[in-house]
């Protein structure tokens, strides 16, 4: 690994490796390993003075070793070429950005990204338990997997001269790449949590035992009103499965969230946060053709006030505007 080399030396090493890309991975790694230790003995400003350019080093090495430069048709394997190109790009990027070489950083972090990839794909809530994703609801399992995956990553990289490990290293990098992309596409929540702990109704059922997805409220004149519902402790009432609210939070405003049984579009406050307990929810259901259709309000004989009863208020004022949330 090029952990101890300066950027210019790492770049030199990468160019030599590129010049030897036609060699078998094992042979090339042997040369790179020798040269890496050699470069560590030289000052940055004397590398090309003593060794010549990377191209002349390769040419002299080939001549002395009795190697003939490969011709078309004798190209190295895909894995070898990919490794060489990645090392080259890493060194070039390091030169341009003046960052340390990326490969060691990548080797250390791809174990974590491997576990993150799992969380992103299968357990988004676990992924949000930064920095250690929880797996199967267990942070301890996540920690053990991160440590194990990091050890695997280091082991594969240390044995890069062996083809099997080299392939394993590339496969691990590809999977970890998905984790990286998932991490970038699913940014961790950075807002201040202002909601009180919601009351998860697991789940609210009607008198017939069926689950309640939505709640409709009416004033005494039969006008539909929007309401914010809380329990006696001020906790917002939520009727859908709890994970729906978590996942929908990260959607663009007004985007319906398809949670399998249907889709819901939550109202949002001025900061873009969903208002989980503003009812009725805007729900849609799949029709027989597989299209989502808004669920209409229930048609019911509205329980008007009995004729022999006296209204509480002759002029009830329905409100269709929810009070400020939060």
């Amino acid at each position: 690994m090029s952990i101890t080399l300066s950027r210019s030396k790492a770049a030199y090493l990468a160019r030599v490796a590129e010049g030897l890309a036609d060699l078998a991975a094992e042979d090339r790694e042997e040369v790179v390993q020798d040269l890496e230790a050699h470069l560590a003995e030289l000052g940055d400003d004397e590398v090309e003075t003593i060794l010549g350019s990377p191209e002349s080093f390769v040419a002299e090495f080939r001549q002395s070793a009795g190697l003939v430069e490969s011709k078309a048709g004798a190209r190295p394997g895909l894995v070898d070429r990919a490794r060489t190109r990645l090392d080259h790009w890493s060194a070039r990027l390091s030169e341009l950005t003046r960052w340390p070489t990326i490969r060691p950083v990548w080797v250390w972090t791809r174990g974590w990204l491997l576990v993150s990839a799992w969380s992103v794909l299968y357990d988004i809530e676990g992924f949000r338990r930064f920095p250690i994703p929880s797996i199967g609801g267990s942070s301890l399992t996540g920690l053990i997997l991160v440590v194990s995956a990091t050890a695997l990553s280091l082991w594969l990289d240390a044995g890069a001269e062996q083809t099997a490990r080299s392939i394993g290293s590339v496969v691990l990098s590809v999977v970890a790449g998905f984790g990286l992309i998932g991490t970038l596409l699913n940014p961790l929540p950075t807002y201040d949590e202002v909601h009180s702990e919601p009351l998860y109704l697991d789940r609210l059922t009607g008198a017939d035992g069926n689950t309640v997805d939505n709640i409709y409220a009416y004033d005494l004149d039969g006008n539909s009103v929007e309401v914010l519902l809380f329990d006696e402790e001020g906790r917002p009432l939520q009727t859908l499965p709890s994970w729906v609210y978590g996942d929908a939070e990260y959607l663009p405003a007004d985007a319906p969230y398809d949670y399998g049984d249907g889709a819901v579009t939550f109202a949002r406050d001025q900061f873009g946060r969903i208002i989980p307990n503003l009812y009725p929810l805007q729900l849609s259901r799949y029709d027989e053709f597989g299209s989502l259709r808004p669920v209409p309000p229930p048609s019911l004989g509205f329980p008007s006030v009995g004729e022999d009863e006296t209204p509480v208020d002759d002029n009830p004022v329905p409100t269709t505007t929810a009070p400020p949330f939060g």
Binding site: V31, Q33, D34, L35, A37, E41, G52, F61, S64, A65
Partner: protein
């Protein structure tokens, strides 16, 4: 005459001779060759020679961690390498003797 061409012909033997003193790593091998008078030997040539000799089964190698930097690969002679060095010495002495006689005859 150009000593570089001569050097190429004897570099294998020179590398084997240095390694016969004890195993060492590439940079130190180059340094020992320079100290011995091979000022113009190219570092890449030494590594190419090491690779060829190792590939031919004449050398051992062992990677040893270093506290000062990357791990170093130490090369040493195995039995085949020691035999090759013996044969190379004889060839060199025979060749040098012939050349010396020839050159001394020229001087007379």
């Amino acid at each position: 005459m150009d000593s570089t061409q001569l050097l190429k012909g004897v570099l294998d033997t020179a590398v084997l001779a240095v390694l016969s003193r004890g195993r060492t790593y590439g940079y130190d091998l180059v340094r020992q060759l320079r100290v011995s008078g091979f000022d113009e030997v190219g570092d890449a040539s030494v590594y190419g020679t090491l690779r060829r000799l190792f590939g031919g089964g004449y050398l051992t190698s062992e990677v040893v961690p270093s506290e000062e930097g990357p791990a170093r690969k130490y090369y040493g002679l195995n039995r085949a390498g020691a035999d090759l060095l013996d044969r190379s010495k004889k060839t060199w002495h025979d060749f040098a003797g012939v050349m010396n006689q020839l050159l001394e005859g020229e001087e007379e």
